[in-house]
């Protein structure tokens, strides 16, 4: 094994990128800071999905449920309880984690497509309740005016999301590299063999699902921080498929792929939105081309080019 040159040292680049991001508020307008904050939040959501999808090989079809539940838990705690804001930031991941645990316990026995389908039906049930429960969740109007004291200017929101999302990504990266993460990926690659060597497959998958739900719930809280409101669309099934698209676009065998996918899609939406109202059509066409010609995503493609044919064999989970 050759000695790694300092230039091929990933943490160095990440530290440089982080410093650059810290300096950005000095030169960017408020609109771009808002867009970047939104990208961090959506990227966190997509990364948490990729934890179970790319690294766990589970068909997590309705991940937005945990995002939406987290957003509502945060918004309700903030507006109704009167407790300091940090309670709400704590409540969002906890509530999302509990919902993830319940849904996981119900779905976990099923494999692949059935798992995904049952998750969509359970998620739709949660959506239907939130959509209709006017007295508690505000129904289809949602909850508005959720502002946190101290995190109110665009610059503050930007720094807050940058730091919290950075910490979350670091923790998730450690989880992926931990013994648990290794076993989790072994289950993805070969569940039967993992079970044969004594791994409790379902317990690992359940824990993975809850971890992903917790981070998605926190992303929901951050979304409310950025946007100031929570609404039922946050847990509608189309959003789940959109974040699946982000993972696919960036590359779902790479850790930072989903973040890249979120950045591309949100930037594209902003740019395309200037010229045409038919943004979803553009998104659809981009997606179709991607699946036809680049199914392993951008980072996956670059990785494949660099590593050669061995990595190329593993194109799908």
């Amino acid at each position: 094994m050759t000695k790694k040159s300092i230039l091929r040292h990933p943490p160095l680049y990440i530290a440089l990128a982080f410093i650059l991001l810290l300096c950005l508020p000095l030169m960017l307008s408020r609109f771009y800071l808002y867009l970047l904050a939104l990208i961090f939040v959506t990227g966190l959501l997509a990364t948490s999905l990729n934890l179970v999808l790319g690294f766990g090989g589970m068909y997590q079809f309705h991940h937005a449920v945990f995002y939406g539940v987290g957003a509502y838990a945060f918004a309700l705690m903030l507006t109704e309880s009167g407790l300091p804001a940090w309670n709400a930031y704590l409540a969002a991941p906890i509530v999302a984690g509990i919902v993830g645990l319940i849904m996981g316990l119900i779905c976990i026995r099923l494999s692949k497509l059935y798992f995904g389908m049952l998750q969509i039906s359970l998620g739709s049930l949660v959506w239907a309740i939130i959509f209709r429960w006017y007295s508690f969740t505000g129904g289809d109007d949602g909850i508005h005016g959720c502002y946190v004291n101290g995190i109110d200017s665009t610059t503050n929101i930007y720094y807050f999301t940058l730091v919290t999302v950075g910490v979350c990504l670091f923790i998730m990266h450690r989880i992926v590299r931990s013994p648990f993460g290794r076993v989790f990926q072994a289950i993805r690659d070969n569940p039967e063999r993992s079970a044969a060597v004594g791994v409790n497959v379902m317990a690992h998958q359940l824990v993975g699902l809850v971890i992903a739900a917790v981070f998605a719930g926190f992303a929901g809280a951050l979304f409310v921080t950025v946007e100031g409101s929570a609404f039922p669309d946050l847990l509608f099934w189309t959003l789940s498929l959109e974040i699946l698209i982000m993972c696919l676009l960036g590359g779902w065998f790479t850790f930072l792929g989903p973040m890249l996918g979120a950045a591309i899609i949100l930037s594209l939406r902003t740019v395309v939105g200037i010229y045409t109202e038919y943004w979803t059509m553009v998104l659809g066409i981009v997606m179709m081309l991607l699946i036809l010609f680049l199914p392993e995503g951008i980072l996956g493609y670059i990785g494949k080019r660099r590593e050669g044919p061995v990595a190329a064999e593993r194109t799908e989970p």
Binding site: Y59, R109, I129, W237, G284, I285
Partner: protein, 294 residues
């Protein structure tokens, strides 16, 4: 008082059953495509919406009572033509891909079709009145029951019988069933599987268009009607058993009836009832009530 609630229940159940007819027609098409082609087709809902908009346009263009009947034939045929193009140009390249990819691909097509509908028909909603023959209502236990819903109750069994004949009594149906189990073997005996798949896909999408045309006189034709129907259709297919036409019928009846009961018992949360029914079924029979072809 009890008689009043009983008759209200009967009326509501009849309405629920006629809604179930639409759900059955749409979800049987979805189930056919899932069972034979193994494609979880998200844009099935978009085709339903296109069917409804096409039915409106044709019915208005032809005019009068005949308009509806022409539309009832023309809209599903138009939808089938659209699906034929999509299948040959795009989907036929992707059959070997994994389900997740197919799901995302069909979702992308749904996004494009959704915006195309917005381009062609605009963002306003449309409404179509039923043909003169089925306007007005019958009296059922002292409650009005729309004639059009009665018509739907007749159409449902007709479609079910037609589908049964098609899958059980025709050569293409037999080939399709065989291809669902082992597509290599069917190809090996010299049958062009690709075209069998194309035909099955077109028939499935025709049913989506038919469902859209049939629902057009019942509700407003709007953007977004694709989003709600596709989730309902998927759930129906899942609780019935993937690929099982009778399962789709059973699932649609369960969905329609629980919805109807929900409206009667707790209108605010009526939307929740069918989902609870679906989850309950799946808790006890995770792979659906009837035998799946998977």
């Amino acid at each position: 008082m009890t008689t009043l609630t009983l008759s209200a229940l009967c009326q509501q159940l009849l309405v629920g059953l006629s809604k179930a007819t639409i759900l059955f027609i749409v979800s049987s098409g979805l189930s056919l495509v899932l069972g034979v082609l193994r494609i979880p087709n998200i844009f099935h809902g978009s085709l339903y919406m296109i069917g409804a908009f096409m039915a409106y346009t044709v019915a208005v263009a032809v005019g009068g009572s005949a308009g509806f009947w022409v539309a009832l034939v023309a809209a599903p045929v138009g939808v089938a033509a659209v699906s034929f193009v999509i299948e040959r140009v795009l989907l036929s390249r992707l059959y070997e891909r994994e389900h997740l990819m197919l799901l995302l691909f069909t979702f992308s097509v749904a996004l494009v079709l959704g915006d195309l509908v917005k381009m062609v028909w605009g963002a306003d909603y449309r409404s179509l009145s039923p043909p003169a023959l089925f306007q007005g209502a019958f009296d059922v236990f002292g409650f009005p029951f729309p004639r059009y819903n009665l018509f739907l109750l007749g159409v449902g069994p007709l479609v079910a019988a037609g589908l049964w004949r098609l899958t059980d009594r025709t050569t293409i149906g037999q080939i399709a069933k065989a291809a669902a189990v082992d597509r290599e073997m069917v190809g090996a005996v010299g049958i062009n599987v690709s075209w069998v798949f194309a035909w099955v896909f077109i028939i499935g999408c025709f049913l989506a268009g038919l469902g859209g045309a049939l629902v057009a006189p019942m509700q407003n034709i709007t953007q977004g009607m694709d989003h709600s129907i596709i989730i309902e259709a998927f759930l129906i297919v899942i609780i019935g058993g993937l690929g099982n036409i009778w399962g789709a019928l059973l699932g649609a009846v369960i969905f329609g009836l629980t919805d109807a009961v929900g409206i009667l018992v707790w209108p605010q949360f009526a939307i929740v009832f069918p989902y609870v029914a679906v989850v309950t079924v799946l808790l006890f029979r995770p792979t659906g009530l009837l035998k799946s072809t998977w």
